[in-house]
Symmetry: none
Subunit: 237 residues, 2 copies
Amino acid sequence: MQKKTVRSAPMPAYEQIKRHVLAQIESGALRPGDVVPSETELVKEFGVARMTVSRALRELMAEGVLNRVRGSGTYVAPRQYESTVLQIRNIADEIAARGHRHSARVLALEASDDPNAIAALELGTGPVFHSRIVHSEEGEPIQYEDRYVNPEVFPEYLAQDFTAETPNHYMVRLAPIQRAEFRIYAQKPDARVRQYLEMEIGEPCLLLLRRTWVGRHVATSVRLWHPASRFHLAGTV
Amino acid sequence: MQKKTVRSAPMPAYEQIKRHVLAQIESGALRPGDVVPSETELVKEFGVARMTVSRALRELMAEGVLNRVRGSGTYVAPRQYESTVLQIRNIADEIAARGHRHSARVLALEASDDPNAIAALELGTGPVFHSRIVHSEEGEPIQYEDRYVNPEVFPEYLAQDFTAETPNHYMVRLAPIQRAEFRIYAQKPDARVRQYLEMEIGEPCLLLLRRTWVGRHVATSVRLWHPASRFHLAGTV
DNA sequence: AAGTGGTCTAGACCACGAC
DNA sequence: TCGTGGTCTAGACCACTTT
């Protein structure tokens, strides 16, 4: 009963196995519903005891990443369906998780000198970057995104193609978000928002305001309007 | 390497240990900050291997019930109903924090056989307890609370005076909330809610649905309507 | 029958904190 | 130094599903 040779990385074996499986899911090598290698196979692959593999897979199941069925096997879980306030998720991921098609229409992508936006980003002077995008799920508009971006944090923002990648995904990919502040309102949309979201007159919006920090900089300040009939927020504490 | 004698209950040993610790916390025998018996002690008490105790305590830490410090010990975690993001706060406290006066009007306080409520509380049969209360800030209504309560968790609920203490405060005082699930909607209020909240016709509501757990019981399921013009949610991540 | 996951044992080595 | 938790091993028995 001797511990095997020291691993190069100071990371527990079960954690390495978890990351290995997660990486395969993120890369698309493993898709929802796919069979994950069995405990026995992972034992051989990683040269560890079965308890260690078992813990890794059990924790991934507790995290909602995998489903395990005794006698059958381990499967990649379908993605979660409800958006959450607690996590800064990507509208495109949420839509994809529901098995639906996401599309984005870029209404504006420009520099701006709006003093309110400059203040919200806690900058002294402008210009700042500004984008307005309508996100749709299966062709039905579900979010009107009005976003201001700190050029010091994302200098290449205006050069991106936000029909291919959402601003949120782009920013998360480039910089780790360290803090976020949000406010949630029920609000009647103005005429422009109502039209872009194809809403009935009188239907309210669920409005989410969010500012996120990267280091000491306010990276972005965004207002997200959602038609009340087609969207809600959810989460657990 | 023989498995020990068959347990009377068909429940894993680690699960029994978890329930034992949770029961002590719920009964008040263990309070936040208290030291939980060490792995070695629990190994002796339950006659199991250390890995089994370790798993039980590790899972309770993952659930936020315990804190574990290597070299020091295992401790009961502080109650978290105010530390997290969408805080499970008391409307009366929030109003008091603004230096304002809170008042409550109890519209109903009764037993109910509503099958939806019974299902929401994950009970087999009713009756369950039901209350409807309008909360006001400086005399201005700010929240319409429609709450169902699990009688197994709060048997004395109907005997309380909720003009003096809010249901939320009463429940938090009696039992530690361990988990909460919420959903947030923008919604047009029905006529009754609109009237009690003294809202203009056409003004939307911010509707917060929340279920909270005490141990393995759904303790309460509540719908909170707020006039959009006078209320919003906020938090940080 | 063979393979899967679920649980458990009785040890072990280690990093860390309190004393 | 001693006790604590963190991880790991190399087996084992079991319930269950698939073939």
